[in-house]
Amino acid sequence: MSNLLALAGVNTHIGHYHILQGVDFVVPHGGLTVLLGRNGAGKTTCLRTIMGLWQASAGRIEFDGTDIARRSTPAVAQLGIGYVPESMGIFTGLTVSENLTLAARDGPLDERRLDWMFRFFPALKKFWHLPAGHLSGGQKQMLAIARAIIEPKKLLLVDEPTKGLAPAIIAHMVDAFRELKRTDTTILLVEQNFHFARTLGDTVAVMDSGRIVHSGSMNDLADDEAQQQKLLGLSLDAHQ
């Protein structure tokens, strides 16, 4: 399997902070890669750097064979990368329909694709003409994901889709991502919820303090409880 996205030695500074300190990892074609790590490890910065919302101060970000590290955000998006930020970035004053129409950059909404999405995000159909600000947290998250995939994308970046959501909605979200995987969309998912990550992930990278500290297959990590504890968890010697 070849890699769709490859980061090599990526450094990002935000003001005086040196957040990414040489990040290397790859996202293979067609799979779902999970980026794990605790709060403040640099996961969100990593996605924002890929999107060009922060500029990398050093390093290469190769997408589909071209270096996109110096590209502007719209240019990155136009290459076929969809982005669901942690804040979801819903336009609350626009209706559900308008949010999706805006995201369909290449023209009118594709009815068939829309029907396909309504199957696993039925709330969107129900509230089609409601301003998105009135949706619940889970519905907003669905809209945010739907918006990112309203047109077929080569790569989807999703930042903590389960944050703040109730268990039943998380279960629903799992189904949606499974459906999405079937369409051969490559996905890079930032998560803290390990269970959610384990259910969906093919490969995994773990970040800490601005670096990748582990990468490999999700199954290997899921089977190795000691490793899990060391990388993610609660054990005494997790740190230094």
Binding site: H18, N39, G40, S136, G137, F196, T199, L234, H239
Partner: protein
């Protein structure tokens, strides 16, 4: 400001403290009391509401429900500066300094606030030698004395975090609130901060709240852990017991979500 007070009331109490953002309940009816001389760690996964809980206590956010009491006095409707004047001190997760003022000046301003001299109009600030000496003393404690004349913005990240702590010390609060004090610090800088927190704790009359992810740090410092998950208080007790409890393991590893 910080004269000893009678022990009838806990230093800090929150009762049914709640805040909603739109439909999302970020902190949900959290009731908890913190006594003098204790160090409580607040843990929980990302988005659990820890920093929001802190913001509600220190007054950066106002609650949609519930109360905050400091030494038995209801401070829920007071502003952040008013709470600070009553003995709360807060260090921030993201460093939050006065970038174009000197390191010494950053600390001196906190000393000056503690001395309630902010509205002093007609004396020269440098004539208040005692304030400057106190500020220097706190810089010594965080090992920043040699950078006193540098601009705060010129400090390295780790040093900025130390300065953040020095400002907190300079407020000489009864209640210390640390929000991930060691985040982003290099390995050799962390002990300086931990040592300081230890010292404050050993004074015996201060109350410390600590939001922290690193469990080794939590274990080495805390007498008590409370766990927030999805805005609710899900566990409260001694560190060893709480860390071992299944509910906490689940909250952290996300097991609570699915089964």
């Amino acid at each position: 400001m910080s004269e000893p007070r009678s022990g009838e009331h806990p230093v800090l109490e929150t009762h049914d403290l709640t805040i909603r953002f739109g439909g999302h309940v970020a902190v949900n009816r959290v009731s908890c009391a913190f006594g003098p001389g204790t160090l409580t760690a607040i843990v929980g996964p990302n988005g659990a509401g820890k920093t929001t809980y802190f913001n509600l206590i220190s007054g950066q956010l106002s609650a949609t429900g519930g109360t905050v009491k400091l030494f038995g006095e209801d401070v829920t409707s007071l502003s952040a500066p008013q709470r600070t004047r009553r003995g709360m001190g807060r260090a921030f997760q993201l460093t939050n300094l006065f970038p174009r003022l000197s390191v010494l000046e950053n600390v001196r301003l906190a000393v000056q606030s503690h001395a309630a001299m902010g509205l002093n109009l007609f004396s020269v600030w440098s004539s208040h030698v005692e304030l400057i000496e106190r500020a220097e003393h706190y810089l010594h404690r965080v090992k920043l004395a040699d950078r006193r004349d540098a601009l705060a913005s010129a400090l390295a990240h780790g040093d900025q975090r130390k300065l953040e702590v020095a400002i907190l010390l300079a407020l000489d609060p009864d209640l210390f609130m640390f929000d991930e004090p060691t985040a982003g610090m290099s390995v050799d800088e962390v002990p300086v901060i931990l040592e300081l927190i230890h010292e404050i704790k050993n004074q015996g009359d201060k109350t410390i709240l600590l939001v922290e992810h690193k469990m080794d740090v939590v274990r080495s410092l805390a007498d008590r852990i409370i766990v927030l998950h999805q805005g609710e208080l899900v566990a409260d007790g001694e560190p060893a017991v709480v860390i071992a409890s299944p509910i906490v393991q689940q909250a952290y590893l996300g097991l609570a979500g699915h089964e």
